[in-house]
Symmetry: C2
Amino acid sequence: MMWQDATVTYPQGFQAYAAAAGLIVGRLDMACLWSVVPAVFSGLFTTNQAAAAPITVTKQVAAKGWCQAIIINAGNANAVTGQGGLQDAYTMQQYMADHLGVASEQVAVASTGVIGVPLPMDQVQQGMSQLVDAWQQQHSDGVKASEAILTTDREPKTLACDVTLSSGVVRIGMMAKGSGMIHPQMATMLAFFTTDAAIEKSILDELMRQAVSRSFLRVSVDGDPSTNDMAVILANGQSGVHVGTPEDIEQFGKALAHLARQGARMIAHDGEGATRLITVRVRGAATEEDAALKARTAVRSNLVKAAVYGGDPNWGRVIASVGSVGLPFDLSAVSLWIGTVLVLEGGLPVPMAEDQAHNELEADEVVMDVLIGNGPGFAEAWGCDLTEQYVEINAHYRT
Amino acid sequence: MMWQDATVTYPQGFQAYAAAAGLIVGRLDMACLWSVVPAVFSGLFTTNQAAAAPITVTKQVAAKGWCQAIIINAGNANAVTGQGGLQDAYTMQQYMADHLGVASEQVAVASTGVIGVPLPMDQVQQGMSQLVDAWQQQHSDGVKASEAILTTDREPKTLACDVTLSSGVVRIGMMAKGSGMIHPQMATMLAFFTTDAAIEKSILDELMRQAVSRSFLRVSVDGDPSTNDMAVILANGQSGVHVGTPEDIEQFGKALAHLARQGARMIAHDGEGATRLITVRVRGAATEEDAALKARTAVRSNLVKAAVYGGDPNWGRVIASVGSVGLPFDLSAVSLWIGTVLVLEGGLPVPMAEDQAHNELEADEVVMDVLIGNGPGFAEAWGCDLTEQYVEINAHYRT
């Protein structure tokens, strides 16, 4: 696998367009992702009971299994908007289908932004019209598209890679947005993967499920699962390389998982107001699920997050949060490292370790390793520190 | 039931002493609660796997069922301190037993403060010696004791009441501390109830369980269940009034539950950095448990908390958090009131309601009522807004 500083347009046969519809003033705020042929489509969606209208629409597309275009807007989530909102999402789907000349059931819709405000369809129409123009003129720009899907994110999140399979090289690309209301169940607001591999839907579904469960489902910026989360992949086969043998499947799955993991880390790192990425790894749990629950609980702890922000190696908060959930463990078997510094060994504080640990909290990424026993369960989770800026952003998001 | 602006010493036969041991510089930081006779003792304790040493000791006392004294310190939690910490807790228990002339198995221990630092036993010894002196001189002062158990709390939390039973009046008193690391599973750090009623342990256990489950277990300041939480009650029978008839039990249980509920509200209101109390009530759920889960999730949502702080009636965040957990519901049956203003009716935003709702967020207590269906399940939960001060307090708690 070779990393590429590229985006969703890196795999063959994918294009991406951006538009400024005025949903977010002075910025690109709509995008269209396009495959030159219908692509195998797989996705994971929020489990929130208040799932947004575009989730309903795009789940239907995923159920059918093919997608050629995704229409995306930022600035308005089209969530908790009732039947009218659902109608708006279908209108977006239909408009793009009509103008791009594809079946509407192969057009997915994604939205992110404020909840409970009807989509300003005049502006959305303008944006869609710009996107269709750009498509007609082939003004594909993956970087601009990755900017157009952001809300409070500070920077676009894209990455791509080459994967060498038995019969040739395939490419996978990704763009994502995150920032606020980020928490497992799905985690990121929006993540779009593209690949030019040829792959069966059932295999893609399973690889995607695995990749997402160990990446986006392990991110927490603020513990709030969004109404609009989705992570989807389009596989258009344009490389002519088939993901065929078990080794190919393993190889492709690994690459997809790596890409998803990097995407998850980017989202955590760019959490609202964050200054540091926090990685918590739990080892020695009875099961991976238990390790994941404990790791996620630690990274979502406001107290842990605030301590990291303050540069305070207050490991007691890590132990308290790990101890608050999941299967029982023996505290006298618990050890904790902050970075490379062992601060708790077998349930006992290591003398003088805190001074050293202090320096580890200066790093851009703070890694905490928790050993809780001798079970086989391992999991990592990602979060970010809690700052005054997080409060400011979310106290006045709409004002 | 008649409310009294009083504390744990209001019921007959209870005394409380305070000392300044230097655990928190320049403040009272140790207390002793004393009953003139051994009292029936009941309690609920943190379920955190990393439960502190005093929890271990006091659970043993609760298992035996009788308690005459509780020794309490603030400033150090004696948690994650290994065998040495457990020994320190037993030393506190034994010292007080020896000097107050009671069996050590009838002395409970409670601690609150920083995790993972050995108790400075020299200072603790000084504090205990002051407490014994005060006890010998009968310098009981319930108000000072309620101050001595605080950490980052801004004010003491006490309340008492009279309860008229079939054969006379009994009294119940309470002091509590909360503030940080406050979340169900147990909720408050420390809550002490006293009553001069005569009551059987099995009945007291059940009434206490009910009272706590609908009060302290429904508070969330920051979602972090502490290692040291406990809520205990001493019933010393000094009123001579027996909680005998089913009506008496109901009456006494109601009073205890009311008192616990008020204590829970005080703790939420005085959350670290908080400017407002947030009450979320969920109705129409299938079960009380589901309603409680949804209400608790809403009050612990950083996004809801930040919106309340910012005076932003961003009800979408409330719906998103309620929708993220528990049993499914039909969004088109969901209505939401902020204060008295209906902002969402049958899954649809009420036009212009937000401007009115804005004013409701100026209040000292912000109440949000969520109707999610026509089930019998009802529950309320309490939290507080998220402010820059919360971050400041917890980023630099020890520095």
